[in-house]
């Protein structure tokens, strides 16, 4: 039963070794200081053990030199920890440009993933090995947290906004997904598996399985059924602004100021349109808060994004094909025309 006593989780992502390196450094520092203190305590306790009843200790009042010594050395060591930890944090939270994007929605008590080409899964996540994957995560109810120990990555999934997380799986295999933010009864059952597979296997996997079309396709349908298209005409004659080509560009607002149209802004514009009103328009767009589910919202966003994409890039292409330095518009967005191309 108790056959394995693992001390470390597997290193199954490219980040894992970097996190472990910091960990080892801290373990070493801690072991050193803990041992130092323990040894001093033991030696002093033995050596200066009281030998008779009336004995008193020496009157030693202190030493500035020593105080400085044991202030400055720990300070120096912790500053190494700080800088190293901060660098690692930036690295772990900032996805490289052109990472493959997957949307993840948490709800009590399951994880729903939507791949850009429309594949969906629940409590499972299939990713290719060797390619940066960026998860864009939202929640339908309370705060959850997406954690893959073997990848050393984790991020809270917060209702009302998006959080991101990224990794590059380095080893094919199946790895735990845990929800680490307490979210109610079945918090401990809100678990799943990441399956990391070789690029070719991944393509095969994408090809199989039922799906209705890409996310953007689904979004396009919603755009019709929710009557968005009645106001947002492509001609510019509608009551709402033109959305084609708008993604990633700055938007001028009523009352001054601009925002860049990113996922968060799109989300806000759909749910609470009056929060930021586009210059030159009346605040007549109805709020869709409560009318669309978190998943539908993601599809709408994917659709609007696809309208703004410069040119279609088929999914499943290595990220390196994307020219670096493009605006924050994700390049790997498929268009409705090419569902799951490249299988």
């Amino acid at each position: 039963m108790f056959t394995n006593f693992p001390f470390f989780p597997q290193q199954a992502s490219e980040q894992a070794a970097q996190v472990d390196a910091v960990y080892f450094f801290l373990v070493a520092v801690s072991a050193f200081f803990a041992a130092l203190i323990a040894i001093f305590l033991a030696v002093f306790a033995a050596k200066f053990h009281r030998t008779h009843h009336d004995q008193v200790g020496d009157a030693i009042h202190g030493s500035i030199a020593l105080e400085l010594l044991w202030t400055i050395i720990p300070l120096g060591i912790t500053m190494i920890m700080f800088v190293w930890g901060a660098q690692l944090f930036f690295h772990l939270t900032r996805a490289p440009k052109g990472a493959m994007e997957i949307y993840v929605v948490g709800k009590q008590w399951m994880w729903k993933a939507q791949h850009m080409d429309g594949a969906r899964e629940i409590n499972e996540l299939h990713v290719p090995v060797g390619r940066p994957v960026k998860l864009i995560m939202g929640s339908e109810d309370v705060i959850h947290s997406f954690f893959i120990p073997d990848f050393r990555v984790k991020a809270d999934v917060i209702p009302g906004r998006y959080n991101t997380m990224w990794f590059t799986a380095s080893k094919p295999g199946r790895y735990h997904i845990f929800c680490t933010q307490y979210c109610g009864t079945k918090h401990s059952a809100m678990i799943g598996w990441v399956t990391a597979m070789g690029a070719a296997d991944y393509e095969t996997w994408l090809g199989g399985g039922a799906r209705t079309g890409t996310m953007a396709d689904a979004g396009a349908q919603l755009f019709q059924s929710l009557t968005c298209n009645t106001c947002h005409l492509e001609t510019g004659q509608g009551r709402g602004p033109v959305l084609k080509g708008a993604y990633g560009k700055p938007v001028e607002l009523e009352g001054g100021g601009t925002v860049v149209m990113d996922d968060a802004y799109l989300r806000e514009s759909i749910l609470m349109p009056t929060a930021k009103v586009v210059r030159g328009f009346q605040p007549i767009m109805p709020p869709f808060q409560g009318l669309v589910t978190e998943e539908q919202l993601l599809q709408l966003i994917a659709y609007v994004k696809s309208l703004g994409a410069q040119g279609p890039t088929p999914p499943g292409q290595p990220a390196t094909q994307t020219p670096a330095g493009q605006p924050s518009a994700p390049p790997a967005t498929p268009t409705p025309k090419q569902p799951g191309s490249g299988n």
Binding site: H53, Q55, D58, A59, M272, A275
Partner: protein, 242 residues
């Protein structure tokens, strides 16, 4: 090695105190047994009240924090919502509180200078009346909000464009002014007790700590309002004055 010493030879840490200023100052009837002197007692009480007011600052501070965050998130929504507050009532209440602070300060002064009880009681009475006036106006304002259905909750009703932000503004409005009003009510209660004590001729230049400490509290509640008034009533009034 450790020094050999005699543990039974105790250093002088305790000596009987010489009869002096610390111990037996003329024994005032209101001096509590564990204090040495009236001065010590008074200083302890005022310091205690100040420390308590610091906790009050932090207590209201949590609400101001929320206000700051949400105003930062929806500035125009807050502006719009603010316009539905009645600036006349707000200004009147500010003036009323300031007057009450004056009467309070004078009440302390009259105790401090051993004025006849009539003077002391009068100032305290005025303070209470002004406090009640403030609460009355607040009640009128609240009723108006209920009538206009701008009380947050399922029945919240908003004409403008920023319904969500307005609801949030009014959540904060009721939380902040409600907590402030609660403090006013407590203040009126305290002042009533102080008034009775003044009536019993307890206060004079020798002993007026309770009036002074209660005054500190009263002024503090006034200060909170000094900030609440502009933050709630006066946002962006220039847009459409009224």
């Amino acid at each position: 090695m450790a020094t050999e010493g005699n543990i039974h030879a105790r250093p002088i840490a305790i000596q009987p105190a010489p009869a002096g200023p610390y111990v037996h100052e003329a024994h005032h009837p209101w001096l509590q047994h564990h204090f040495d002197s009236m001065t010590q007692q008074a200083e302890a009480s005022t310091l205690g009240m100040w420390v308590f007011l610091v906790t009050e600052i932090m207590f209201f501070g949590g609400l101001f924090m929320a206000y700051l965050v949400y105003r930062h998130a929806s500035p125009s929504g807050f502006q719009e919502a603010s316009h539905h507050l009645n600036i006349y009532w707000g200004t009147a209440n500010t003036a009323i509180l300031i007057i009450s602070s004056l009467t309070m300060a004078l009440a302390v002064r009259s105790a401090q200078t051993s004025q006849p009880r009539g003077t002391q009681v009068l100032f305290l009475f005025l303070t209470i009346v002004l406090g009640l006036a403030f609460l009355g106006i607040k009640a009128i304002e609240y009723t108006d909000k209920f009538k206009d259905r701008i009380v947050p909750g399922p029945n919240f009703h908003w004409e403008g464009t920023h319904a969500k932000a307005a609801e949030q503004f009014y959540s904060l409005y009721f939380a902040m002014t409600g907590l402030h009003a609660l403090h006013m009510i407590i203040g009126v209660g305290i002042m009533s007790v102080i008034l009775v004590m003044a009536w019993w001729r307890i206060f004079d230049e020798e002993y007026y700590t309770p009036v002074e400490v209660a005054g500190l509290y009263w002024h503090f509640v006034d200060i909170v309002w000094i900030f609440l008034f502009p933050l709630l009533y006066l946002i962006g009034r220039h847009y459409h004055a009224g």
